[in-house]
């Protein structure tokens, strides 16, 4: 219903010759769409704040995250929170608050790029398998079974260890495996959509397979893809954090996972330096939850079903 409403508003906007007012109307329609949904709105607001903070990180962060902070020629190791250092400093004298701000960017980059690949691959596999059935379906679904049989975290660790520690290798590892859930769900949805009469009508009127798949069936399963994308954003941020925590992360990038790794190996736990390792975890939680909220991923989480065949 909502998407229909949106298209009608968009069509009206296109009729308007004035490009500027058309853009404004588009924006308003978009905002109205978000306003209808409280969860979606909260998620979107959190992400807007994160994106602004990430873009302006050099301005907002008071210090260089790598720089050892000094006062009167002495390096400030393990400082508790103070006015100069809001969240204190690490055992190497680095400003924790600045690291936290700089950590937003890798989280967003990993989250969105991994989700993009997961959605594209998963949706394509699901569409092709569900539409063509037969041997294509069998082949693609056996591939999905295999992907389900490969343990996720060990696979990411091994691949990243072999290909070298970089954010993009973590994204690659996730893109190679995480499409599996999306593919299964999209396929089962396509199986029902392809029986609907408008698909039949398109076939009779001589539309090509590709046209039917991408113009007639795909728009009907996109909300589902979007939902799985929002789940993938959360998964990706959590995975990057776990991989970095285990010490396989990109050593040149200060991510929240790296901060937690740093805190763990520098005995921050035994020193009770909560100001060091609590904030990155809270940030990860916030980013993951916001992802769930935006895509209505909460719905999938709150109403889980067993595997759909």
């Amino acid at each position: 219903m909502k998407s229909e409403e949106m298209t009608s508003i968009r069509n009206r906007a296109y009729k308007n010759k004035n490009l500027f007012s058309a853009c404004i109307q588009q924006l308003l329609a978009f905002l109205r769409f978000f306003k209808q949904d409280k969860f979606c709105m909260i998620g979107a607001i959190i992400y807007v704040i994160f994106i602004i903070l990430a873009v302006f990180a050099p301005v907002i962060a008071p210090y260089d995250p790598h720089e050892m902070q000094k006062k009167d020629g002495q390096i400030l190791f393990n400082q508790p929170p103070s006015k100069e250092h809001l969240l204190g400093t690490t055992n190497m004298g680095r400003d924790i608050f600045s690291q936290l701000i700089y950590g937003i960017q890798p989280a967003l980059v990993v989250g969105f790029s991994a989700a993009f690949f997961v959605v594209v691959v998963g949706t394509l596999v699901g569409l092709l398998a569900g539409y063509f059935r037969g041997w294509i379906d069998t082949l693609l679904m056996r591939m999905t079974d295999i992907a389900f049989g490969i343990p996720f975290e060990p696979f990411v660790i091994v691949l990243v260890a072999f290909l070298g520690p970089s954010v993009w290798n973590i994204v690659l590892a996730m893109a190679l495996l995480l499409w599996r859930d999306t593919a299964r769900v999209i396929r089962s949805q396509v199986l029902t959509v392809r029986e609907r009469s408008f698909v039949e009508a398109a076939k009779v009127s001589g539309a090509s397979h590709l046209r039917i798949i991408f113009f007639h069936i795909a728009p009907n399963i996109l909300p589902l893809s979007f939902l799985y994308g929002s789940l993938a954003v959360g998964w990706a941020i959590l995975t990057e954090a776990a991989v970095s925590f285990l010490g396989f992360g990109d050593p040149t990038v200060i991510s929240w996972g790296y901060m937690l790794h740093d805190a763990y190996v520098s005995q921050a736990l035994s020193r009770g330096a909560f100001y060091w390792f609590v904030p990155p975890g809270l940030c990860i939680m916030l980013a993951v939850m916001a992802g769930f909220f935006i895509g209505r991923g909460t719905e999938e989480i709150l109403y889980p079903r067993l595997k759909k065949h």
Binding site: R142, D145, I150, V158, A242, S270, P304
Partner: protein
């Protein structure tokens, strides 16, 4: 009946195919990667002859296709090679740590599924109230918090600050148990197990809880629940005796899958708590480029996952006959 057997046999064949494919992927993954696999094993002080012997011992001087057949022959016999680092058979090392992973996994799964199932019943019962909102928000927290971070916070509070529990390992330093039974009878072991087990349980709790909740809401609309209500039975009795019983079936299948995923999934928990299990073994093996050990641990984790998926499929078809007929 005939159809059911056919379904089961095709599922088993599918599992064998999946295992073969995963083993093949692993073979290439571990062999086509950059870096010398013998780097961890060959000491620079070794002579040329010593290096030659080692090369032949692992079959690494043969062409790739020959290595593939040697690899599969070995795999079928349960021969996973020797660890580069420990200089012991991989299967022996894995066998030594496997019980620890199973104790951790089973204890946390039991805690999670008992509390989760009961929690799901309560949340469905109290739907529309503040209790439900609080419960759901808390569950969402457990789903989005990184497991290892929860472990870190728990360690910092209960081990380091309050000093209630040990901070690492499965036994006090210097103590070696003669047998698994002796380990299981030692109170010290449970003191070590409690924190990692609870941390893992907090994460696992979400699935049974939410699954139970949504099943309960479906079941509560069924006629027999209305009937029970009309007979004037007490609400808690209706919930437990009529609704929960039927809503619990899918949760049981979820647990079968959960066992499989828990074995592969607690890599981070085992690392945070330095728990000597399969996950931590894998991380250590990858870190030290101990290829045979990493490969062996990976294969075992994958095999358990695939097998538990099969168990879940079969359980599901036993509990819900429509599944096998639909195929």
């Amino acid at each position: 009946m005939h159809k059911k057997w056919k379904f089961m046999i095709s599922k088993v064949l599918q599992m064998i195919f999946t295992l073969w494919a995963i083993a093949t992927i692993l073979f290439f993954l571990f062999r086509l990667m950059p870096g010398n696999p013998l780097a961890a094993y060959i000491d620079p002080t070794f002579t040329k002859e010593q290096q030659e012997i080692l090369l032949q011992q692992f079959g690494l001087d043969k062409p790739l296709w020959q290595q593939y057949f040697i690899y599969f022959g070995n795999l079928l016999q349960g021969e996973l090679g020797n660890s580069f680092f420990f200089k012991e058979p991989v299967i022996k090392i894995i066998w030594n740590v496997l019980p620890n992973t199973i104790y951790l996994m089973l204890s946390s799964l039991i805690i999670a599924y008992v509390i989760g199932t009961l929690g799901g019943v309560i949340l469905a019962w109290k739907r529309g109230t503040k209790t439900e909102t609080v419960g759901i928000v808390l569950t969402l927290f457990t789903r989005s918090a990184p497991q290892f971070w929860v472990g870190m916070v728990v360690l910092a509070i209960f081990s380091f600050k309050l000093n209630w529990f040990p901070s690492a390992g499965a036994s006090p330093a210097g103590i070696v148990y003669d047998s698994e039974i002796e380990k299981l009878l030692s109170p010290q072991f449970y003191k070590h197990l409690l924190l990692p087990s609870l941390t893992l349980a907090v994460y696992l709790l979400g699935l049974p809880l939410l699954l139970m909740r949504s099943n309960m809401m479906d079941v509560m609309n069924e006629a027999y629940v209305d009937m029970a209500r009309m007979r004037g039975l007490k609400e808690w009795r209706i919930m437990l005796k009529y609704a929960a019983r039927n809503a619990a079936l899918p949760v049981i299948t979820a647990m079968a899958v959960g066992i499989g995923y828990a074995i592969g999934g607690n890599v981070v928990i085992e690392t945070v708590f330095s728990w000597p299990g399969l996950g931590r073994l894998l991380v250590d093996a990858v870190t030290s480029s101990d290829y045979p050990l990493a490969q062996g641990a990976f294969i075992l984790i994958a095999a358990v996952m695939v097998f538990m998926n099969l168990v879940a499929d079969l359980l599901y078809s036993l509990l819900d006959p429509r599944v096998s007929v639909r195929r």
